[in-house]
Amino acid sequence: MSSENKDFGKNKAFLIDMTKCTGCRGCQVACKQWNQLDAEKTKFFTGEGYQNPPLMSEYTFTRIKFRDYEKNGQNEFAFYKEMCMHCNEPACASVCPVGAFVKTKEGPVTYDAKRCIGCRFCMVACPFGVPKYEWSKAFPLVRKCTGCYSRVKEGKKPACATTCVSAITYGPREEMIKEAEKRIAARPEKYLKKLYGAEEAGGTSVIYLTALPFDELGFKHVTKRPLPSYTWQALRLVPGIFLTVGSSLSLLSWFTHRKERIAKEEEMRKSGSAPKEG
């Protein structure tokens, strides 16, 4: 899972320009439609602005988070789309004991429900809190944004990107990054000079552009190193440790038992009789 020799530039990626997002939530509905997800029973607003549902869930693969606040006497009404980041080197895929998650060559990180044993390690591992669980089911599975892999495979754009007014651009990752940099260069007074997702978790297939500081908007601070490398640095030692421990213990016991064995053999040879009863 090391990041060398891997080129994610050709992977399809989302460029989400929050300065263009109107919080219309067409993406949220399009996602539910395409994935045929049930609506959630919500109340009033579970968050700032008109935010609903409260969180992403087994029924909600993507959600617009609203921020409604004042800053220096100026209103800020900001919206951002939460979804699976389709990491270049996904933590979820690396920890899944049965390899249910796969980073496809097209870009989306897919989930094979038929493999999943429901251990929820992916949920613990994902730095963005994406995979969700079917808590209400006796034999639950994990649910998350599919990256609309079935569409992408056919050369279509994901449902959310298709429905979006203009905040979502979808295309090869390197082009998306170039486009983002172009926009920043064209309007430096408007954009923050940072792309969230360019380096987070070792780079993701969802890249955000914004005018407001990311932490103010509630974006998680995430390490720049690909997450699988954190576990891999320990796991890669496994065969070595196994062999080392095994062989040294074997040797050790061979030695420690040797004396006894010799003594016993001696005795056996001498007496030629069976051991005493004890």
Partner: protein
């Protein structure tokens, strides 16, 4: 829209006033953002900090109902700071026209007001005419009686301080907006104004729109790419509905509906065909007889002959106001026997809805034609009434939805786009065309057996095929129009031969002698021998690259994408802005290049054939000064009927031309807050279409009210509390959303709070809630009768039954 959606991308400044495109016209943001990517500035002027405001470069808060003050101030700002497009104003508007000596404006009132009838005599505002009967002009614009000087004087009263004291806008915000937008008064800049219900739903709504148009004329922004006066229309096909004569005072194609004294066709045409003596004036409405006769031919076919005035006598004549509110008033008074609600839900959508719901109970019968069970169709079992007490017989006819039927739909940009049927209607649902067709045939059968004055029905030509479903293409072809006999028409150097039954290629060939049929003249050209042009889907842009896509669908009139485009060029025909040339005169080829021009004539300066650019008014000039408004030639600020403020500009508190019903008695002591209603992305209108869709109710599940943090503190209301909002007409309960996006207005030194309500809720459907319209007053615009939904008085208290 004078322009169209895609054209928004050509703007340098976009002023969204009284509309909330990000929420109510989401796709428009695609083009607005495209403009912004090119450095265009988005300006939002709204009482609330909306999702549009969040995207805007400039935001200014405005108190509901004070747009004339706001826009009047901008007019003043543009004039005072010399930001107007001088040549445009001089050449293309009526700025240079001299107003007659008697015209006068004093202390909030224009001359010739009849206090009894509450009406003006608009004739008193006429231009001064010369000996030949042509209006007098002073192109230097110096004459104190010229429109320009009158205008300047009128709006000099609208200085920034006064305006801000009225509108409650922060002065620095106001100036920033004025500066940003008025900077488009240059030939190389384009500014567009987007407006919708925040402008129109007012007792002076039409004057609000006029103020928008006047500002645009002064800045030279009409007719150009990225400019225009752009109404973001509402219901998906409301543009088409208006085009086809939905409103009580109009026939299809914006022909006037006959009034009681238009006794015969001649009198009607005499009254409604404008005349001019100016040879440079195209005076397009001069063609009224051709369009009227072609329409009558469409309705009465063979039966319509020159001898019988083309069956004009069969048309009902109007003797008053039949607007929605008047109808409801009559219904409440027991004057209506039955009502057909076809795609309308008045129990939620109309003002003062408690009254409307009661009034429905006075009907003998009610027919609703809808996709859903609506509040209107179940009004007899609404909460708080006993169905036994209601005698109205209700019929619910299930209608097929837009995707279950074929037909055209006209968007705000006047593009008529043909749609195909995607799926079969569910259940027993039928298309509206099927239902109307069945109605018409049944009525014809019944009247054939006799009845009072059966001819208007029995003589109708009604033939849309013999199948189960009427032939929608036959309807479209009839709307376009066809020849009833073989004809030879000489058009300039061309001679055209037509056979009886041929489609009319464009409305200039329509005739007033019965040889042509056209159901709606402005759509003439949409369905020709080349087929159904509305179904075109060619994605190639015009050579000017302005996003006009002339072969995508068809747009009225004659596929002209930007109307009044003759004003986008100098009087010589050179584009004001060559970089964004809508049309340009090619002197060598002697023809226009680019968009379809507003008439084929050469540029205005052509001595022989040149025409003035604004061809729809008789004189041909954009009207800074109007001659046919009910409430004055210039928009003047008046307070909404229910307002907590007094008019700072004159002693006249409300629009004098509005007849206020007696039961509206504004009481700012009891109802101290400004109530306003609006929409949100997640719901549609009265809610029938969205409140039963779980994916949408998940987003906005409950009726709520937005209030400011200061009001929340004053009333002890926290976010999520149940509250009760009350007006003179009733009270509703809902959840409070306390937000810094709503702020009180600083009006005349007083803090005035606003109470914002979406109006999408009602008692039918899956997600229910109280209706905002329980609170709104039934009083409307002097010119159009659109109700004043945007400004009324109310109170708010913590608590409520549902809490």
């Amino acid at each position: 829209m004078t322009n169209h959606w895609i054209d928004l991308k050509n703007a340098d400044a976009i002023l969204a006033i009284g509309c909330n495109p990000a929420e109510n016209h989401p796709i428009s943001m695609k083009w607005i953002e495209a403009a912004m990517d090119q450095g265009g500035k988005l300006i939002a002027v709204d009482p609330r900090y909306t999702r549009t405001a969040s995207k805007a470069d400039y935001y200014a808060q405005i108190r509901p109902g004070t747009d004339i003050a706001y826009l009047g101030g901008m007019i003043n700002y543009a004039i005072q700071n010399n930001l107007i497009h001088e040549e445009y104003v001089r050449e293309y508007t009526n700025a240079s026209f001299i107003v007659n000596e008697k015209f006068d404006f004093e202390e909030g009132m224009f001359c010739a007001f009849d206090d009894q009838e509450k009406t003006y005599d608009a004739k008193a505002w006429a231009y001064a005419v010369d000996g030949a009967g042509n209006p007098k002009r002073d192109k230097s614009l110096k004459d104190p009686r010229c429109v320009y000087q009158q205008l300047k004087k009128h709006y000099s009263r609208y200085d920034v301080d006064k305006v801000c004291a009225i509108t409650g806008t922060k002065k620095e915000d106001y100036l920033a907006v004025a500066k940003a937008f008025c900077s488009t008064g240059r030939p190389d800049k384009a500014g567009t104004i987007l407006y919708a219900m925040g402008i129109t739903q007012s007792t002076h709504g039409t004057q609000n729109v006029r103020a928008v148009a006047m500002l645009q004329l002064l800045l030279g922004n009409i007719g150009i790419a990225g400019g225009g006066v752009n109404a973001l229309r509402g219901e998906s096909n409301v543009q088409g509905s208006s085009d086809y004569g939905l409103l009580f005072h109009l026939l299809p194609g914006y022909l006037k509906s006959p009034e009681f004294d238009n006794v015969d066709l001649k009198a009607y045409l005499e009254k409604w065909t404008p005349k001019t003596k100016d040879p440079k004036a195209a005076n397009w409405w001069g063609n009224t007889p051709k369009y009227t006769v072609s329409l009558l031919k469409a309705w009465y076919g063979e039966n319509a002959t020159p001898e019988n005035g083309f069956c004009y006598d069969y048309l009902p004549k109007r003797s008053g106001n039949y607007s929605f509110m008047k109808l409801m008033e009559g219904m409440g008074a027991g004057k209506l026997e039955g009502l057909v609600c076809m795609g309308q839900n008045p129990a939620v959508g109309g003002p003062d809805s408690l009254k409307t719901r009661d009034a429905l109970g006075k009907l003998k019968w009610l027919v609703t034609v809808d996709l859903w069970e609506t509040e209107t169709s179940i009004f007899w079992k609404r909460p708080g009434v006993n169905p036994k007490d209601i005698q109205t017989e209700v019929f619910m006819l299930p209608a097929a939805s837009s995707v279950e039927k074929e037909g055209s739909i006209s968007n705000s940009g006047r593009w008529a786009q043909w749609r195909y049927k995607a799926v079969e209607p569910c259940g027993n649902a039928k298309s509206d065309l099927w239902i109307i067709n069945a109605f018409a045939k049944k009525m014809k059968d019944l009247y054939a057996k006799g009845g009072a004055f059966p001819e208007p029905i029995t003589k109708l030509s009604w033939n849309y095929g013999h199948g189960e479903e009427p032939e929608v293409h036959m309807v479209a072809k009839e709307i376009n129009g066809y020849f009833t006999k073989d004809m030879t028409i000489v058009d300039k150097d061309k001679t055209l031969e037509f056979k009886a039954g041929d489609q009319v290629p464009m409305f200039k060939y329509l005739q007033d002698d019965g040889s042509t049929v056209s159901g709606c003249w402005i759509y003439c050209g949409s369905y020709t021998k080349d087929g159904n042009l509305m179904a075109r889907r060619d994605k190639t842009d015009a050579p000017n690259g302005l996003g006009m896509f002339p072969k995508w669908s068809w747009c009225w009139p004659v596929n002209r994408r930007i109307i009044y485009n003759r004003a986008s060029v100098t009087p010589d025909g050179t584009p004001f802005n060559p970089k964004r040339a809508v049309i340009a005169w090619d002197g060598l080829e002697k023809k226009w290049k680019g968009d379809v021009p507003d008439g084929p004539w050469p540029p205005m300066n052509d001595a022989k054939e040149g025409k003035n650019p604004f061809i729809m008014v008789p004189e041909g000039f954009g009207r800074l000064y109007a001659l046919d408004m009910k409430d004055g030639p210039f928009p003047e600020h008046y307070e909404p009927i229910e307002s907590p403020a007094t008019n700072l500009l004159s002693k006249v508190q409300n629009n004098p031309a509005v007849k206020v019903p007696k039961d509206i008695v504004p009481d700012a002591a009891k109802f101290p807050f400004i109530g306003t209603t609006y929409r949100m992305t997640e719901h549609w209108q009265a809610g029938a279409m969205t409140r039963s869709l779980p994916w949408l109710t998940e987003l906005v599940p409950d009726m709520f009210v937005e209030i400011s943090e200061t009001l929340g503190r004053a009333k002890g209301i926290k976010n999520g509390d149940m509250v009760k909002v009350t007006s003179q007409r009733g009270s509703i309960e809902c959840v409070a959303l306390v937000t810094s996006r709503l702020k009180p207005f600083n009006v005349q030194g007083k803090q005035i709070e606003q109470v914002g309500l979406p109006w999408h809720f009602g008692y039918a459907g899956a997600a229910t809630g109280d209706s905002g319209n329980v609170l709104t007053p039934s009083v409307g615009c002097a010119n159009t009768s659109i109700p004043e939904f945007k400004a009324f008085l109310c109170n708010i208290e913590k608590g409520g039954k549902r809490a």
